[in-house]
Structure formats: structure tokens, C-alpha cells
């Protein structure tokens, strides 16, 4: 067993263990932390498959941005764990059914002869897959890429319009543009007057 294989099995073992713990652990914050660990290990597996760009982007997008927002929401919610676990037995048959179907599909794909792709030859160390990926995305797949971007933009706008509503007028709030434009003459009135003397000097 080579060095690479040892690392592969180590990463896979941690990935599986953290994925299982993510589902079974009681505290939602711990669950999010296990999900982060799972993301890290799958990113490392991608790097081992010579997909270093995708591996780093997985960490940047999912761990660095998505999971931070996730943790934010989880920390703000006051989750009652007992209520959450009440339906566990009730939904167990459905969950098992889904698990069996997914497992069966994976076995079918992995054992299917027509889907077997010959093992690609490793690229030399100076091979830059970021450049190759960019070239493919911006030449052959430029339209699908742009359409995906537009769909995401629509989703962003939809999310904002759904959540953004006008505040009731009783809410106190600042208008930053008024604050920036303010001048000292609007705030302070300088009054010229003679000094009053009581003749004490």
C-alpha cells in the first residue's frame, strides 16, 4: 500500500465518519461543524484527483461563505432538540427507503460495464487545470455558463424582493445619505453676543 493510498483511506474514513456524525449528533451547531469537516475532506480528495481548482473553490464557497451563513442562522435560532427528534421513528421507513434506493443506484452505476472509463494518465506537475477549465467554460460552454449566471441573478433578486419590505413609519432608522450630506451650519447656530461682566476683576 503506497503513501497515496494511506492518505486516501484516511481522508475517506474521516469523511464518512463526519458525514454520519453530522446526521446523528444532537446539537445543530455540532452538526454544522461536522459538515464543515466533511467538506474539507472531500476537498482534499478532489485535490488528490488532480482537481485542485475545484478543491480550493469548494473550501472557498461552501466552507468560507455558505457554512458561515448556516452557522449564523443556527446560532440565532432557539431550537428545541426534543421536538426536532420526535418524528424520528415515524419518518424512519421513508428515510430507509430513500437510502436503499440511493445505494442501489450507486451499485448499479459502479458495476455497469458501459460506464467504465479507462483510468486517465496523470498529468505532469506543471499542468494547470485552472487554465484548461477557464478555456472550456468561456469558449465551448459560454452560453450555458452565462445562462446559469443569469438564473442565479434572478434568484438573488427574487430572494431580496421576497424579504425586503418597507418598515413601518414608527421604526426609528438612520438615513446615511442625509448624514453624509449634513453641514456644520445645519447643526450648530453660533450666537454673537457681548460678554457679560459683573465687574469682579
Amino acid at each position: 500500500m503506497g503513501f497515496e493510498q494511506i492518505i486516501f483511506y484516511l481522508l475517506s474514513a474521516v469523511l464518512l465518519a463526519s458525514a454520519v456524525s453530522m446526521v446523528t449528533v444532537r446539537n445543530p451547531v455540532y452538526a454544522a461543524l461536522f459538515l464543515i469537516l466533511a467538506f474539507f475532506n472531500s476537498a482534499a480528495l478532489w485535490v488528490m484527483l488532480e482537481a485542485e481548482f475545484l478543491g480550493v473553490v469548494l473550501i472557498l464557497v461552501y466552507v468560507g461563505a455558505v457554512m458561515v451563513l448556516f452557522l449564523f442562522v443556527i446560532m440565532m435560532l432557539d431550537i428545541n432538540i426534543d421536538v426536532m427528534r420526535e418524528g424520528f421513528i415515524k419518518y424512519l421507513p421513508v428515510g430507509l427507503l430513500v437510502a436503499v434506493v440511493v445505494a442501489a443506484e450507486m451499485v448499479m452505476v459502479l458495476t455497469n460495464k458501459s460506464l467504465h472509463i479507462p483510468k486517465p494518465t496523470p498529468q505532469p506537475a506543471d499542468y494547470n487545470n485552472t487554465e484548461v477549465l477557464g478555456e472550456q467554460l468561456y469558449t465551448y460552454y459560454v452560453y450555458p455558463f452565462e445562462i446559469a449566471a443569469v438564473i442565479l441573478l434572478v434568484a438573488i433578486i427574487a430572494a431580496i424582493t421576497l424579504t425586503h419590505r418597507k418598515r413601518p413609519p414608527s421604526t426609528k432608522s438612520q438615513n446615511p445619505s442625509d448624514q453624509v450630506k449634513v453641514k456644520s451650519t445645519d447643526r450648530v447656530r453660533i450666537v454673537k453676543m457681548k460678554s457679560e461682566s459683573t465687574g469682579g476683576d
Binding site: F3, V57, V63, A65, V68, M75, T130, P176
Partner: protein
Amino acid sequence: MDFVLSIWNAFPEWVQTVLVILIKIVAILLPLILAVAYTTYAERKVIGYMQVRMGPNRVGPKGWLQPIADVVKLMFKEVILPNKSSRFVFYLAPVLALAPAFVAWSVMPFQAQMVLADINVGLLFILAITSLDVFGIILAGWASNSKYAILSAMRAGAQVVSYEIAMGFALVGVLMAAGTMNLSGIVEAQSGGITHWFVWPLIGLFLVYFISGVAETNRAPFDVAEGESEIVAGFHVEYSGMAFALFFLAEYANMLLISALAAILFFGGWLSPFQGVDFLTELPFIGVLLGNGIHWLLLKTAFFIFLYLWFRATFPRYRYDQIMRLGWKILIPVTLVWIFGLGIAIALGWQPWLS
């Protein structure tokens, strides 16, 4: 010497590789930790002189041993675990804050060929690793089971996530200009003297980068995460002793990282400003100093560290909604417009920077 070599050759090859990497890591981390210690000293001295006082001057000659005394004090202090806190996450958070600050240094090129991991997605790797800093803060706030800590964690989290976008766009401009994400490649793309540095065509992006860098590290004037007057000390209010020191270490290591990156991405890294001026670099003795070398990188980094301290001594703290407004409504639009203009400049082949 032969004896040592014979022991060395007795190891299998992969053990030798691992040992060499470990030695390199120690060779980077030890000076880094020392630099962090003396940055705290420099901070107190510089701000002291700016405010017309002496700064620390009791321990050792001119107070040089003050950081050592601080470390010893922090090491012998008790680490207190608050009641009803999450024990594991409470101790994990400082480690999560510190680890990314150190890991990012693994791709830092100190000189030509002098880099631990010369990977071709270096810039992206740095972005990904620095985006993990926020976990230490958020988890520290949550695990402390304290309202001040969690308020600060919320502020810091939102702030860091927002400014990451502006910083990412500023770095996109650099990689467009350099045509590579390898950090050594970016420095080499700037060779040819002071006029060839990326700071000239990318001056707007540099300003955005450094402002977001200050905001990312939660330093003054963007240090609402630890606003002493409102939320006592922020996310690390419940931490004491070495656990607190780790947060401190992480903050200063991140400052050094942002400063070193500013030097590498915009100011030519280890390249000398006199590069190409042959009569200067061929002078006896001082020619070596005026030529390219790691000392230029250290000098530039030290300058940006000084800027950090200068900001802290002079600027009042921003209000929270103003910070968000600056990040989203000013810095991000500036970077978007600048990147668009940069694309046109590259298409036109604007010499000598963009070809």
C-alpha cells in the same frame, strides 16, 4: 558531518521528504511568531510616540523584553471555562482562529525559489484559507455562552463575510494583470523596476484591497468586533490566559499576512525598486542590498504594518452601519468598474504593465 549524512541517508525517501517539509515549516513559523511578538511591541511604541508618551520602557533595555514578559505572564494565567459553555468548541475556537493565519504562509514566496509550496492556485488558496478565519470568531462567540460575545461574533462575522467579496474582486484584478494565480509568477510579472509594479495600473484595487484587509483583520478603525465601550471586549471576553493569547496571535499573524500580500501583489514582493538601474545594482557591497532580495519584501511588509498602527493611532472607530455601507455600496462597485476597465486595458495591451 559524514556521520550526520549517513544517518540522514539511512531514512527511507518519504521520511526524508516529510522531515525536510517539517524543517521548512519551523523555519517559517518561528520567525513569524517572533515577528508577531515584536509587532505588539512596535504597536505600543509607535502609538506611544504618536501620542507623545514613552510606551513600554521598563523590561529590558528600552523595553525590548516586554513581549517576552507578556508571553510568560499569559502562559502562567489560568484558563477559565465559563459555566454552561460548550467545552469542546470553547477550546477549539482559538485553534480555528490561529490555524488559517499560519496555513496561508505556506504558499508565501519570500524570494525567487524560496517558497514552501509553489502551487499554481496560490492566490485562490490564500483567499480560501483566509475565509476560514471567521469560524474562530463565530464559534468563540457562540461557545462562550455570553451575550456580549455572541453580539460581537455576529458583528464580526457579517463584517468579514462582506469585506471578503471586495477583497476577492481586488485580487481578481491582480490575477488578470499577471495572467497567473501562482504568487511567484505574480511577482515575476512585475519585474523591471518601480514603474512596473502593479500598484500603478491597479491603484484603486490596491486601496480597496488594503481597506478590506484592515476590515478583515478587525483592526481599527473597523474594530467593532471588540468595541470596548459597547460590548466590553467582544468575542474573546470570556477567554483568559493562553486561549486569549491565541486570538491575539491570530490577529497579528493575519495583519502580517495582509501586509506581506500587499507587498507581493502590488509592490513587487522581493523585487528591488532599482531593478534595471545597472550602475546602482553593480556597485560594490551596497549593490547587493540595492538588488533584489528578501530584505525588500521585509521592508515593504514593515511599511504596511506601520500603516496599520498609524490608522489605529489616528482614526476614530466607524459606526457599524457605516462599515457595511462602505463595504457594499462603495468598495464593491469600485472594484467592479475597475475590473471592467482593466479588461479593456488588457485587450488594448497597455504597456508596460498589461500585455
